[in-house]
Amino acid sequence: MDDIKNPTSLINKDYETIDLVTFEEWIEDSDKLSKLGVGVILEPSNDVGLIKDKLDSIELIALDFRNFDDGRGYSQAYLLSKRWQFKGEIIGINAHLDQLQFMIRSGITRYQLLESYEGFDEEDYSNGFSICYQAAANNSGLNLKY
């Protein structure tokens, strides 16, 4: 079995510990929480559109990719990153090696792989192709053909 994590905090890019609240907690009390510099952890079933109005007061957003076949996180990442231009980090947690390329191009800025993938060459899977056939949230490092 994969070692699924349910983090209550994450380290941001400045090495500060950021407490995480759930989507429900944020919706319930976003006025108060938006002053505390917290991050929000989203599950695939959460309607990401409901947090878009106060994105500026969210420190970081964690999207959960534990379920290999559940692709909603990719659309959540796209909407946050490209459409609503979320400025903080979008961190993919419980990530799978074989899906890194999809996560990164959808707008995930950082990821935490499940432990079972330790020791594999992440580079190989995060940027496995020389070409991309579509515009996406992140096309860096790829030749475009579309």
Partner: protein, 545 residues
């Protein structure tokens, strides 16, 4: 004809390299079965009853003679010397060994062939009318659009892990050879009142246990905006589609639950945010370049003095298998692979090589595949049709069955597929044996029979004149009969005739249905028209009476 360039082929190699690594990890126990399943399906690989099955894409149904030779080589080197042309413009190999997959796929990359997204919960091979570009009255050749849309959704980062599989068909002709309204998403090329080109969009069609005809969600999307509209449709599906119920994964269930107008409203709301994004506009320069690549390789020829050879067998074959071409002096030739006892759509490596050779000689090196599992030579000179027929005769490929009842569409069935509940091919064979008199077949005329071995409906039994669906009853094989489905002129799901019929008596039932048709038709009336006029009762009485 359009061919992949070096950059595209490099991409195919990279995809094989990646899959090979995943396969090695799986075989070493480092990638569990459920994840590997998800990954292998996206590379066209199924675990079937006896071996692995690999599905190779034939984008919009077009193959060059060299590509067909490459497939013949695969059939010999990795399979048992044959391949199976499917109803969705793919070819399947049924006897593949797992450790050989990467080498097989690598062999195909040079020919520009691949198995990417031929299965799995992603956008599948995009299908088109096999006669695209060839017939009069076409609104526009769909193939350049198929290619641009295929590319766009090739390993699309956002839409590669959808709730269910997603099949797209595009039609640019007046008659709908693609059956687009039974697809997850169908695009019909149309012109608006200003004469501008765009697409009507139909979403949520599908066969299976709950057959549905896709409602129209947009009547006119300008061609330049189609990518953003498709993305919005897929985004709504990705975010809101059912993932909690194995049998409700397809977009048709979402469209049904929300209602077509609400689904359409949600798509439109999303689309308003992206339609002006310059990155999402269809690349019109690339479109023009593709139109040149897809231009017909023939010029009009005046054959005024040409006299057709008189030969009885030739004339029968020609009547059924040859169609007129929009380019003067040319014909479209249909070649049936149907042989008694063999699976419809099956071709041996030898047949593939012969067809490749004949395509070079008679059809500018191009071959097309159809949803009736036949082969089309799209560019045959009228004064060479007889010579082509002679060659086909010599190789046993001159079956005059095209468009007759004997040209049966059948899935592999329980003989090969572990999803199937009943056999398909032996039923097709028995029907062909029952109707093996050519005069009788000609008298019956254009009548289609499709046989699916289970509710997955791979043989499209809902949308044909006589559809048979295999099922199990108390450990025995039974077949449910549906009548008068169609997609060509308009889309109708066939009507269930009544209780399912045992495998033992199913061929009698088919014969009875055919007889009711013949006894009641007026002049050249089609089966669906007779059914509309006389209703289901006469058929019921004859079959169950």
């Amino acid at each position: 004809m359009y061919q992949y360039n070096a950059q595209d082929k490099q991409f195919l190699v990279e995809r094989v390299d990646q899959f090979e690594k995943q396969l090695k990890r799986h075989l070493a126990g480092e990638l569990d079965e459920s994840k590997f399943r998800s990954l292998r399906l996206r590379n066209g690989l199924y675990m079937e009853l006896h071996a692995h099955m690999l599905r190779i894409a034939i984008p919009y149904g077009i193959l060059s003679s060299d590509q067909l030779r490459a497939l013949a080589d695969v059939a010999d080197k990795y399979d048992r010397g044959f391949g199976h042309f499917t109803t969705r413009q793919n070819i399947q190999f049924n006897w593949i060994q797992l450790p050989e997959i990467a080498n097989l796929l690598r062999d195909l990359t040079d020919a520009g062939l691949h198995a990417i997204q031929t299965s799995g919960k992603a956008t599948r091979n995009i299908t088109a009318d096999p006669l695209s570009g060839l017939t009069e009255g076409e609104i526009e050749d769909a193939r350049p659009y198929c290619e641009l849309i295929r590319r766009w959704f090739n390993l699309h980062p956002e839409f590669s892990w959808l709730p269910g599989k997603f099949k797209i068909a595009i039609n640019g002709a007046k008659l709908d050879e693609t059956a687009l309204r039974i697809h997850d998403l169908g695009l019909r090329l149309v012109r608006n009142e200003k004469g501008e080109l765009g697409f009507s969009v139909f979403v949520g069609g599908g066969l299976g246990a709950a057959a549905m005809i896709g409602p129209e969600t947009a009547s006119f999307v300008p061609i330049v905006d189609i990518l953003s509209y498709l993305e919005s449709s897929l985004r709504i599906y990705n975010l809101k589609g059912r993932r909690d119920h194995q049998k409700k994964l397809r977009i048709k269930f979402l469209v049904r639950e929300l209602g077509a107008s609400e689904f359409s409203r949600l798509v439109d709301e999303d689309w308003q945010q992206t339609k002006d994004d310059p990155e999402l506009k269809l690349n019109l320069t690339e479109l023009e370049s593709l139109k040149k690549d897809f231009a017909l390789p023939i010029e009009p020829i005046n054959l005024d003095g040409f006299k057709e050879t008189v030969d009885f067998n030739y004339s029968i074959w020609k009547k059924n298998n040859v169609r007129s071409h929009k380019v003067l002096g040319h014909s479209i030739v249909n070649i049936s692979l149907t042989k008694l006892g063999a699976a419809p759509g099956d071709a041996t490596s030898e047949q593939m090589r012969i067809l490749a050779k004949l395509a070079d000689q008679f059809s500018s090196g191009e071959i097309r595949t159809t949803k009736r599992q036949t082969i089309v030579f799209p560019f045959v000179r009228k004064d060479q049709v007889f010579d082509l027929w002679k060659s086909l005769e010599q190789y046993g490929l001159s079956s005059p069955h095209q468009g007759t009842l004997a040209q049966i569409v059948a899935c592999p069935g329980r003989d090969y597929c572990d999803l199937a509940k009943a056999v398909s091919i032996p039923i097709a064979t028995r029907v062909q044996e029952r109707f093996n008199d050519m005069n009788k077949l000609l008298d019956i005329g254009d009548l289609n029979i499709n046989i699916s071995g289970c509710e997955n409906s791979c043989a499209h039994h809902h949308v044909t004149d006589i559809g048979l669906l295999g099922m199990q009853k108390n450990g025995e094989e039974y077949y449910q009969i549906t009548l008068a489905g169609e997609t060509l002129r308009e889309t109708h799901i066939g009507k269930k005739l009544g209780p399912s019929v045992s495998g033992e008596t199913i061929v009698d039932a088919v014969e009875n249905i055919v007889n009711v048709y013949i006894d009641n038709r007026q002049q050249e009336e089609k089966f669906t028209d007779v059914f509309k006029r006389i209703g289901i009762i006469p058929f019921k009485e004859k079959v169950y009476g």
